[in-house]
Amino acid sequence: MFRYVLKRFLLVIPVLLGATFLVFSIMEMTPGDPARLILGNEATLENIHSLREEMGLNDPFLVRYTRFLTNMLRGDLGTSYRNNLEVSKQVLQRLKNTMILAGAAVLIAVVIGIPVGIISAIKQYTAFDNIVMMVTLFLAASPVFWMGLMLVIIFALKLGILPAAGMKSGFPAMLVSLILPAFTLSSNTLAIIARTTRASMLEVVRQDYIDTARAKGVSEYRITVRHMLTNALIPIITIIGISFGGLLGGSVVTESIFAWPGVGRFVVESINFKDTPSILASVVMLSVFSTFVNLFVDLLYAFVDPRIKSQYQSGKGRLSSK
């Protein structure tokens, strides 16, 4: 088992390297001269040229990529064109904030979505089930930024009970300012988790082993928890993992609406300023992060389902993509 985990970890590395190459190549296509951008319109050609030399912008593509890579592995992600500060520091600072937001969103989606899905499945065809299906249908289809606008209008402007923007510091204040953005970000994921939980439960309810458990005289409560839930929740883990990518995407927009100082907003600002190193660094770091989250979810899945676990213990694991 441990060998399998190690193998997966090692496999991830070339993929991530490839990803850095991909993003670097994309950013290469940006038109315009960074040196000119930094020095402004009045700069002389001489100054521009020497700055280019200094920044190593005249070197061939592969040289620049290798330099980027080696620097990155040393922890140096370059200097921002915008404010001449180290990019890595700026990104890391904001990464923490994005993690808080995304973490809260996942929490909300899971804590509300799973129970709703379970109850909906148990009470299939009742009014509750129908309402849940209708609501999740619309929630899953709502653009995150629109949801944010609506929530702000209702709760911050009309009702005035929650702040409209910004991340406050200090403990209770931060949580309060987290509420609206977190709910906004979680809306899509919440709907998907609720639906998937419901579908999974419905699938499990029909299984023969539930009949066996009933025939044993086990209480309904224990059947629901020990037999239905334990089986139904396994595919949910995968769904949570998959939604993570969507959450990162959603955070870009959510942070913009709520002026939340996270990486998503940082990327948007950097794009507006044509600050290539910042964009590059942010995308790379978020990719690394998301890849590890996916790997973690994959391993968790194998850990939780004894059928998959024994597959890998005996070394028969699948190596190719799912």
């Binding site: 023969d208 082993y209 458990a213 025939a215 224990r222 004894p306």
Partner: protein, 334 residues
Amino acid sequence: MNSILEIQDLAVRFETDDGVVKALNGINLKLEEGVTLGLVGETGAGKTTLAKSIMRIIPQPPGKIVSGKILYEGRDLLKMSRAEICKIRGAQISMIFQDPMTSLNPVMTVGDQIAEAIQAHQHVSAVEATQKTCAMMELVGINAERMGDYPHQFSGGMKQRVVIAIALACNPKILIADEPTTALDVTIQAQVLEMMQDLKKKFHTATILITHDLGVVAQTCEKAAIIYAGEIVESGTIHEIFKEMSHPYTIGLMNSIPKINSEERRLNPIDGLMPDPMNLPLGCNFCDRCKFAAPKCWEEEPPVVYLGGEHFVKCFMMESRQRREDWKVENGQQ
């Protein structure tokens, strides 16, 4: 002997979007202590529905127990509360299902699943439960060290043994076995059946063995009931039935088994299919396929005719004594 289980006029329906399925239409059955009753019928006859009705695990929408009584030791199971029925399930009446591959919870160890049956009904400590689990596993022929293994690590035959261990863990008075060997290879079938016989002798459990195999019935059962389209068409002791097979369906079943010591060129199936349970005919359910059907059979429901001892048949052919004698001559039973 007193009957430990008595089913009176049980009728069960399923209300689906496509129509009402009449699964069971007036079942009458008696089971005594320690007796094995073979319930024979083809797919769709209602065997599993009957078994599940006794255990009361029919999903209540869309299922509906329309009428009838199921008396266990004199008490009507259908009138009991949820809590009371839960106490009986597993402890007094147990059931094993047809497909061992899907009957076990895939994420729970085999040992835990057996222990769960014990701990649901007996107040024992975890240690005692484990001991009892080991004992049960040895009893069904599984190495007790495999307690911590998961179902997918066992073969089909072994899984079925686990299922049997779960069912017998609390020493129930009645065991309902729904085609326990159908999904297994023939050799494993023999092993499992033999094991069940041994256990039956040991625990003195009354058993309802659901099967479509008359051979198994002859070998292992004391009584038999033939079920067709939701009704019991013939019932009695094995001796009575095999000696004086009376219902055309039973005869058809018997004749369709190829005999090892006679030369036959073709098989003798029963032509036709069982009627659609959403659209049962007015008269006898078997009339379309019956070689001996008279016009009366389509119009009226046949009566239950008692042929002596415990033997009864639901057929017009058996009504008069004269007819019966003719019948026996016709079928070479004289």
